[in-house]
């Protein structure tokens, strides 16, 4: 019997539904200490005083850490891809979002740890905060990030660009230009398992970290960078996660547990409360997308201009990557020969946003697909026909100039239409993904084609 294609039961399904699967919080190690964090109560503030002496002296408290205890406090999740670091593991001198960790305590119980957190003496100097990305480049907007309010490191640009074809020609030539604004919202990843980690100092000098990360090697690299240790000092144990959806790509609890375990020389576990998971862990980003489509009255999309603003929250994390991916897919499942796209990563004083299912593309799929139905309604054209006519075909090129090998926009659209009993005219019903020819290869699409292995 072939396994591929078979409806085999989940490898770990019985364990999951009978409660026998071991998740991080199920791991029990003797002498474990518990972690609580001091988090910023303000959206944006200077830290004018931070004194942990009273907390450290409390009964049952084994370690307190601040930024001074982190060998390398600022490490960017995307430094490997050339994005410089901007986010401190523990706040140093200022806080930029409500819930940002400033100090962490390891104590004999969660209650003792919380009491010690409350004994940390801290004072703030509140600063004006920025929440509306539309105002990021306003002269009056508060300056909230050391790089300015917009991420500046796309090579020499402060935005991710796409330039394809001749955008001015498309807008001159168009019969109609349809413009719209789309604002996909931030949402929670909302896993059942909140952020959790257990760090155990081993007798051989290594540190074992039980982690709910979605990416063990990535998280191990992040912890090693903050601790400035080689990878052989660390062992990550994981691989089974109680829901991630993108929210467990960020390294949330692992590094702080590692530092506290080393300082206390005891195992330490940090399990975020549901409230922390909702309010202090990263979200899907909110976006602001302005699209103008240059179209002909018979339904060809000649060109598209797009300006996208991405709400990164207080730090960059994966946002520069997300906006690049967004840029690469902003023409959707269609062939648009002339494009001009500018995407900006905007900083605000909210919890840094991060990856979530569909990262960078969920937002643009909403914008593009709502916009196309709007274009169809303005033109008085059937929205199925508008899509099928402009659908990606073999040999068409994507927004960034890649020849498409096996597109199936036509196949999925026709299958959906058939399933719901939409009766399309024969010329649409008979469409395939084969290379364009005849009426489906108008003059404006000729130059963008790359057939027979030409080009990328």
């Amino acid at each position: 019997m072939k396994a591929v294609g078979a409806r085999l039961p989940r490898y770990d399904g019985v364990g999951h539904v009978t409660g026998r699967t071991q998740y991080v919080d199920d791991v029990r190690v003797g002498r474990t200490l518990w972690v609580k964090a001091l988090r910023s109560p303000h959206h944006h503030a200077g830290i004018t005083k931070l004194d942990t002496a009273k907390a450290e002296a409390m009964q049952g408290v084994y370690a307190v850490i601040t930024h001074k205890d982190v060998p390398r406090n600022v490490y960017g999740h995307l430094e490997g891809l050339g994005v410089p670091g901007d986010e401190p593991l523990l706040a140093d001198g200022e806080v930029r979002y409500k819930g940002q960790p400033i100090a962490a305590v390891a104590a004999e119980s969660e209650e003792a740890a919380q009491a010690a957190v409350e004994a940390i003496e801290v004072a703030y100097d509140e600063r004006p905060a920025l929440f509306d990305i539309r105002l990021a480049l306003d002269p009056d907007a508060p300056k909230i990030h050391q790089w300015g309010n917009v991420y500046p490191h796309y090579g020499p640009y402060n935005h991710r660009r796409v330039r394809k074809g001749d955008i001015d020609w498309a807008f001159d030539k168009a019969d109609v230009i349809v413009e719209g604004v789309y604002r996909p919202q931030a949402i929670e990843q909302m896993p059942m398992e909140t952020q959790v980690a257990l760090a155990v100092p081993e007798a051989n000098g290594r540190l074992t970290i039980y982690s709910c990360t979605q990416a063990m090697y990535f998280s191990m690299g992040v912890v090693a960078a903050h601790l400035e240790v080689p990878l052989n000092k660390l062992k990550f144990v994981g691989g089974t996660v109680g829901g991630g959806f993108g929210g467990k790509v960020d390294t949330a609890a692992d590094t702080i547990c590692a530092l506290l375990a080393i300082k206390a020389r005891r195992p330490v576990k940090w399990r975020w409360t549901r409230e922390e998971e909702f309010l202090s862990s990263s979200t899907r980003a909110a976006w602001h997308i302005e699209i103008a489509d240059a179209v002909t009255s018979d339904g060809w999309i000649l060109g598209r201009r797009t300006v996208t603003l991405h709400d990164s929250g207080a730090y960059a994390r994966f946002s520069p990557y997300g906006v690049t991916k967004h840029a690469f897919h902003h023409s959707g499942a269609y062939s648009i020969p002339n494009l001009r796209f500018d995407g900006f990563v905007c900083f605000t004083n909210r919890v840094p946003s991060t990856a979530m299912r569909g990262f960078g593309v969920t937002s643009v799929s909403f914008a593009v697909e709502t916009h196309l139905t709007r274009v169809a309604s303005v033109l008085g054209i059937d929205p199925w026909e508008l899509r099928l006519r402009n659908a990606n075909r073999i040999g068409d090129t994507s927004g960034n100039g890649v020849a498409l090998k096996d597109p199936s926009t036509v196949a999925v659209a026709l299958a959906a239409a058939e399933r719901v009993g939409i009766e399309l005219p024969a010329e649409y019903r008979q469409m395939t993904s084969d290379p364009r020819s005849g009426d489906l290869l108008p003059e404006h699409l000729v130059a963008q084609q790359r057939l027979n292995g030409e080009g990328a």
Partner: protein, 366 residues
């Protein structure tokens, strides 16, 4: 005051693998002396079922029964690098890592079997745990015996390792153009949503969603359907109920518990009709492409388009809460015509809020 029905749809695409590539997954495999297979992979299973899918891929790539294969993804000491479970890369890139490692193990099995059977390796095949001569099935040896012979007679460990890696695609920062494909594959999907909108309360109910996914090859159709249906309910949350910041951009009134955050629940689940298409990818394992992330991308626009079909208003700020639907019904906004331009949504644009007409965002090199 009435309930209005409407239908909307959307057609989407989504890349497999990290944008711009450069994201390796590695795996290694060894055989126990009875031919049972130990696979070591760093791919984290976040519930999507990658352990199951990888086990299926290894079983068929080797030609042994599924239940011979044990998957260990538990730690970084025994597993090699996996960049991570994100970017819809588990089945394709993680799957290719275990497939390529299994192909190397298969070659080693055939080498040893060739010695035992005294038949050239190229004339042998493996199926269901049995190595047989092509065209002469009576000449055969069980993989268990091959592994035993390797261990105790030849003093060899049958093992194999591999890496799945597509090279990094540099992007031209001035134009966004790339020289090589910046992804491993592209998957496609369509969603048709039927909704009912109450023009008195603003409530939107999704009655049915028909969803079509081209996944290249469904390694495990049940798990593909799990992604389609799980994605559908997540997309419904995006479209109708969920918001970290209910009064965005204000940071106030965030929900800090399940009862104060409107995630979709089972009672919101509409009738679902799933269609799986298989248009194989060139180099995915057994033709597979990704489904994971794209599964929540098509529903929000399909729902927004269905609301327009039902009541004639565009909801372009997500989610389509009753407040937003009622506000739109009240405002009755239409596109403003200016020459050949038809301009919608001016009231929420950058220009409407910024004191400098959005300078810096618009026309950056015009």
């Amino acid at each position: 005051m009435a309930k209005h029905r409407g239908r909307g749809f959307a057609t989407i695409e989504y890349p497999t693998g990290m944008n711009q590539n450069g994201d390796p997954s590695q795996a290694w495999i060894k055989l126990k002396p009875d031919g049972r297979v130990d696979v070591f992979s760093g791919t984290v299973d976040i519930g999507q079922g990658s352990k199951t899918v990888h086990t299926q891929i290894v079983a068929d790539a080797l030609g042994v029964p599924y239940d011979w294969v044990t998957m260990d993804n538990t730690n970084t000491d025994s597993s090699a690098v996996c960049t991570g479970t994100f970017a819809s890369r588990g089945t394709f890139i993680g799957g290719n890592a275990v497939r390529l490692a299994a192909e190397r193990v298969r070659e080693r099995i055939l080498d040893i079997a060739s010695k035992e059977l005294e038949i050239d390796a190229s004339d042998l095949e493996i199926a269901n745990g049995e190595v047989t001569a092509k065209g002469a099935p009576q000449k055969s040896i069980n993989v268990a015996d091959v592994a035993g012979a390797a261990t105790y007679n030849y003093g060899e460990l049958i093992s194999g390792s591999s890496t799945a890696l597509k090279p990094f695609a540099e992007v031209d920062d001035a134009t966004g153009q790339v020289e090589i494909e910046p992804h491993s594959a592209i998957s496609y999907a369509a969603c048709v949503a039927d909704v009912e909108v109450d023009d008195e309360t603003g409530d939107v109910v999704v009655l049915k969603m028909v969803q079509v996914y081209d996944v290249g090859r469904a390694i495990n159709p049940t798990l593909v359907e799990g992604q389609i249906e799980g994605g559908a309910i997540m997309g419904l949350g995006l479209g109708l109920t969920e918001a970290s910041y209910p009064h965005y951009p204000s940071p106030e009134h965030r929900g800090g518990e399940f009862g104060a955050y409107l995630g979709p629940a089972m009672e919101d689940l509409p009738e679902l009709d799933n269609v799986i298409l298989e248009n194989p990818s060139e180099d995915g394992p057994f033709g597979a492409k990704a489904i994971g992330e794209m599964a929540n991308n098509a529903q929000p626009p399909a729902i927004a388009n269905a609301i327009f079909d039902a009541v004639g208003v565009w909801i372009t700020e997500m989610p389509a809460t009753p407040e937003r639907v009622l506000e739109a019904l009240e405002a009755k906004r239409e596109g403003r015509r200016d020459g050949k331009r038809v301009i919608f949504d001016e009231h929420i644009s950058v220009k409407a809020f910024s004191s400098n007409d959005g300078e810096g965002f618009y026309g950056v090199d015009a």
